[in-house]
């Protein structure tokens, strides 16, 4: 009997030491919706794995580092179908994963954040650009790697003002998100001294995005829609819903550039971005996913890299420790944007340069030269600390 017991203890010890040599497992969940949205341009149609593909690359990057630090990262993906309970799905995902990357609409994200608050799961908002998630509806357990509408609008506005294209013709779609982006653009114009000479609304009357003879019709509609405008330098379009924005470039009544949701577009990332060592990451991404990297991919990559950065610095996979480090004053992450990215401690928004792209090239990167700030020039983009309505809890 004693012998048997001794044997058991011996076995127990052996098992413990074997476990100690095993790498620490760090589970990351990815929560998104099953449907993909439709875009006007066929080349911009998002892939089914848009976003999660970036997370997957960052898991690989973290695991390469993990070989040296004794940490192993895994990714579990969950897609919500229409009508499914998002809080329930998130809770199930949180069973094995202390960190969850979310690509969800604002309301769903808030439901998830509140459902997981007691568990201590750390959420990364990689998809939603809504201001209110960082302002009145901010949450202490949600870090935002996606930029906000105001950041995107400010990034574009700084460039337009730098270019001295300060008279804007603002064209707004009829959906809620379009109006929110228009709000952000109006705020930008006021902040940086641009003038909106006139606003027009483009009503979405329904209809297919793809038809066999669409071009002929559009070519007649768009000049008519933009004629008789007061003198302006640039047409700024707010059409997040992808109803008409892409039809405007080269078709305006007056020969003017287009910017905003079409033409020159502000984005956190682009397939054409190759500065600051980005080419290596673009190559790695292409090799892994057989397609080019989108802004959503980058926002998810950054979130998973933030986790990897914090686990290697703290030498721990403990969610509390990692969260404290990410939210602490010493945290920064490198993300191929020429500068370290840090968190705004008042609302957990990631500070980041914004690229201005035309679908083929990176035209510029904001903040622009001359837009100064006492803390970080990146805080010239979006709502700054004194304006913030966020109270983290």
């Amino acid at each position: 009997m004693i012998r048997w017991l001794a044997g058991l203890i011996g076995f127990g010890l052996a098992a413990t030491s074997a476990l100690a040599a095993e790498p620490a497992l760090i589970g990351v969940g990815y929560l998104g919706v099953a449907a993909t949205r439709s875009t006007l341009s066929l080349v911009e149609q998002p892939a089914e794995n848009d976003g999660v593909a970036g997370a997957r690359l960052a898991i690989e990057d973290n695991n390469t580092t993990g070989k040296f630090t004794g940490q192993r990262f895994s990714l579990e993906e969950r897609r919500i179908k229409e009508g499914e309970d998002v809080a329930q799905a998130a809770t199930a995902l949180a069973e094995k994963n202390g960190f969850i990357i979310a690509d969800l609409p604002a309301d769903a994200l808030l439901k998830v954040a509140d459902a997981l608050r007691e568990r201590g799961t750390l959420l990364f908002n990689a998809g939603a650009i809504d201001e209110r998630l960082r302002e009145a509806d901010c949450r202490a357990n949600v870090i935002h790697t996606a930029p906000t509408r105001a950041m995107l609008a400010d990034a574009l506005g700084q460039y337009l003002v730098w270019k001295k294209w300060s008279r804007w013709l603002l064209v707004v779609g009829s959906h809620d998100e379009d109006k929110l982006f228009a709000d952000a653009l109006r705020r930008t114009a006021t902040r940086f001294g641009a003038k909106i000479v006139q606003e027009r609304t483009f009503e979405d009357k329904g209809g297919a995005r793809r038809t066999d003879s669409g071009v002929t019709l559009i070519q007649r509609q768009m000049p008519v829609f933009t004629q008789q405008a007061p003198a302006y330098d640039v047409l700024v379009v707010a059409d997040e819903s992808e109803v008409f924005g892409g039809y405007l470039p080269y078709r305006t009544w007056d020969p003017r550039p287009v910017a905003g949701s079409a033409g020159l577009v502000p984005r956190s990332w682009d397939a054409a971005q190759d500065q600051w060592g980005a080419i290596q990451m673009q190559n790695r991404f292409f090799k892994l996913n057989s397609r080019r990297m989108t802004a959503l991919d980058m926002q998810a990559w950054t979130a998973v890299r933030m986790i990897g950065e914090a686990t290697s610095r703290t030498n721990s996979g403990d969610v509390r420790k990692v969260t404290d480090f990410i939210e602490g004053p010493d945290f920064s992450v490198a993300a191929f944007k020429g500068t370290r990215l840090t968190l705004r401690d008042w609302n957990l928004q990631l500070r980041q340069p914004i690229l201005l792209v035309d679908g083929r090239m990176v035209i510029s990167v904001s903040p622009q030269e001359g837009f100064l700030h006492q803390v970080s020039e990146l805080d010239t983009l979006g709502y700054d600390r004194p304006e913030s309505k966020c109270k983290l809890k």
Partner: protein
């Protein structure tokens, strides 16, 4: 007659090739796909050599006969004959070579391949690939300890300095440093390795025996935001007293007192300063300034910038004939 003329020409050439105290510097121009040759006597560009795509890491062979330049987008290292100043050969470097280091004898070359997380080992005489060492994500900085036993490689996204035993080609230690480590430099007495972190904005000082960070050099420039301070290239004087650190878009070289690890002076150079090289007599230090497309010449003793030389587009690395 013809013979006499030939002899005459020969002696002129010989004289021209060896003026007193003049050295020849080679600068890789990342965007122009060229290498600029600078004469340090006249401080002028004497020749521009067309090379492969995206030339970055550049170094003389130990015998001074050839210049090796990593042309990343052509996945090779080209070899320039220093006599004829033309590309004569290429090395099997592995994909996207950026920086490399050679052993003291000049026989083995270690190349950082950014695209596939490896360091490639090349036999320089046979021009053959001997093997690969798996390292972290985006290997970049490379240096060898003065005794030749340890190779240091930094990986930019893993944020580590990997210590590799050159005889077994195994990693023996990994030291975490600040974000995006770009360059590593040993003190000549082997007591410390200095590693620059471009995004972290610091230089970590590592004890190569204990494999621990024992100190950090930090930078503060009045009127300049912290994000603009991005240390990359490091040069250390042979007496190990003074280090020069290139601060990228801060457009400055920091002069650091090695003993106290404190910056004593900032020298304003061209825009986005990346790498540097001393003349063999250590009188001058040449720095490559990417955005202003020029090379600054620093008088090392006076700690002053004395000259600026226009080169090709986006000058990246520089090496000077031994």
């Amino acid at each position: 007659m013809l013979r006499m003329w030939r002899v005459g020409l020969f002696s002129v050439l010989t004289l021209a090739a060896a003026p007193a105290h003049a050295f020849i510097a080679y600068v890789s121009n990342e965007k122009s796909n060229t290498v600029s040759v600078i004469d340090t006597d006249s401080w002028t560009v004497t020749k521009t050599i067309r090379v492969g795509q995206r030339p970055r890491g550049i170094d003389f062979t130990r015998d001074g006969k050839f210049v090796m330049v990593a042309v990343g987008d052509d996945d090779t290292i080209q070899v320039i004959d220093a006599k004829t100043q033309t590309v004569v050969d290429s090395l099997p470097s592995g994909p996207d070579p950026e920086l490399f280091a050679q052993d003291a004898a000049g026989k083995i070359l270690y190349v950082a391949n950014e695209n596939d997380n490896t360091v490639t080992v090349i036999d320089l005489e046979k021009r053959a690939r001997l093997g690969d060492i798996q390292v972290g994500v985006e290997p970049e900085g490379m240096t060898i300890s003065p005794d030749g036993k340890t190779l240091i490689n930094t990986s930019e996204t893993t944020n580590m300095a990997h210590f590799i035993d050159t005889s077994s080609r195994q990693i023996v230690a990994n030291v975490l440093v600040d974000a995006r480590p770009r360059f590593a430099e040993f003190k000549h007495d082997s007591s410390e390795v200095w590693v620059s972190s471009e995004i972290g904005g610091t230089v970590s000082i590592i004890d190569p025996r204990k494999h621990e960070v024992i100190g950090k050099v930090t930078f503060e420039i009045p009127g300049l935001r912290k994000e603009a301070i991005q240390p990359v290239g490091i040069g250390m004087t042979r007496d190990d007293k003074t280090a020069f650190i290139a601060l990228g878009p801060a457009n400055r070289i920091a002069v650091v007192d090695v003993a106290t690890r404190k910056v004593t002076k900032y020298l304003l150079v061209g825009q986005r300063v990346w790498h540097m090289a001393f003349t063999p007599d250590e009188k001058y230090l040449l720095t490559t300034n990417g955005v202003s497309n020029d090379v600054s010449v620093i008088d090392v003793a006076a700690q002053k910038v004395i000259k600026t030389i226009q080169v090709g587009e986006l000058p990246w690395g520089v090496t000077i004939a031994p």
